[in-house]
Symmetry: C2
Subunit: 327 residues, 2 copies
Amino acid sequence: MTSSESTFVVGIDLGGTKMLAAVVDSHGQIYGRSKRKTLPKSDRQAAPDVVAERMARTVRDAVDKAGLSMADIAAVGASAPGPVNVDTGRVFRVVNLPKWDTYFDLGPVLSEHLGVPVYVDNDVTLGTLGEAAYGAAKGIDDVIGIFVGTGIGGGIILDGKLRHGFRWGAGEIGHMLNYHGTIKDIEHFASRGAISKKMREAVAKGKSTIVADILATRGDDRITSGVIRDALAAGDPVTQRVVKNAQQGLGLLIASVVNLLDPQCIVMGGGLVESLGDRFLEPVRDIAFEHFFLKDDADKIMIVPAALGDDAVALGGAVLARQRGGG
Amino acid sequence: MTSSESTFVVGIDLGGTKMLAAVVDSHGQIYGRSKRKTLPKSDRQAAPDVVAERMARTVRDAVDKAGLSMADIAAVGASAPGPVNVDTGRVFRVVNLPKWDTYFDLGPVLSEHLGVPVYVDNDVTLGTLGEAAYGAAKGIDDVIGIFVGTGIGGGIILDGKLRHGFRWGAGEIGHMLNYHGTIKDIEHFASRGAISKKMREAVAKGKSTIVADILATRGDDRITSGVIRDALAAGDPVTQRVVKNAQQGLGLLIASVVNLLDPQCIVMGGGLVESLGDRFLEPVRDIAFEHFFLKDDADKIMIVPAALGDDAVALGGAVLARQRGGG
């Protein structure tokens, strides 16, 4: 297959609630996007093959919107929110989707639907790849991506090479452990999910009237990144405390990873980081730097917010498609 | 430079108290060894150039003992117990040696002394490389070495490639952090140094008469790996407790590293592991496996004791010399 500036690839980001496809050229420019809910309203228990068929349609929609046809598409790169065998396109399982509790050959099935080669990788890995190709770590080939959401996911690029692991299990950065007293995953302290849980408990106990007020005003009892941002802005002491704990956890997590791997760049993503921005990252950075074992050139280690927002994973999928499939 | 079965290289392991050189053929066979104290008795404050001159003599002694001359030696691989720029042979510092508190160009200086190319890398990295080439991880190119001593050092080989880090700072595995309550390095719980310190405190407080007796019998108040082994064999409850804590710390450290990097093999080395053997590793392994996030094929991850003993680092130096210098 010859490489050409004019060929396009499609990246598709499969999440637990929605999917996003993007048609991308060789410069990372997006020519067409399409979104769809992951599961049909009529069937919340849909099996993986239903999800795959919806992914194929979403890819075709994005290609239509770009004014192209599938004949213009060299390859597709798809993400899955779970461990993936990148060589075969097999997704081991997707925890968030009820019927995807065993393996599914997403790559081959999508390829059958679309008539082009389809490559699959983990979503956080592709988000990191997207940021390294076109975002906050553009041009850097030594990047750890840390995406803070309900849990905490990690993507690893060392010396320009994605690290997938011996069992395709690398990058579970939120499941690095605390070993003093009770054993807990870092996710337990430092994820948006952990912050939300602690805030909800405080509301239930009547300890935070500010958060209760914000939820009442919004008419939605979910504690999202936006609620956390608003509660911080209103000076809610409970929120300040749990966010500070999370920042400490993330700072120490980064220091641990730097002391182990000494990467050039750490990209921090996810709704919470994007919502709170550098104000959230500043203390994380300070705590991390304070705990670097090697102090030499510590200021050359970048700890930066992700830049591509919702497009990061789809753009990473496009990079995967281009690297593996040409185009 | 042509590669030939008949050419030899020398690996030299520089420690805080002694150095060991070995002449090695392309199969990892050792033809001659030589040892020397790192610092001369007459000058405990000797500068790095004195140490380098002693290293050069130790290399020549080993070559003599192998019945060879320096003309038979293709290259030398030397270790240093500190961060090293492998491209230039510069050692940033050696914490254990009083006058080596700033950088020293060990590679170029040794090469000048010996008249052959000299390559330098961190000692734990070379120990891991030695075990991967000729020892417990023979033939495996995806290995994390964890060496438990006064501190805890790590060596990283991923997909056949040594990981040195952006600042030559990778592998400080003992400085991964605990983030619950007081912030402490893993070394603080899980090193032989930490075990010895806690045992010494117990002796000072009169809490462990067994350890006090062992020390009195030996006529030496240092709590070595041998003392720990004897105290365990005698059923000393204090020693059992602190060793159990260390095993838990090491098990969780391994689980954290596996959850992050998913390597095929973890090699555990250092005096304590070698002295206590698999009896020490069995609970470490159980705790690690229990905390793997990805359970699939968990039993395919090897957690094994180092096999090369005191020769590991020198053999790793030989591998480095062969990889970089030919021979």
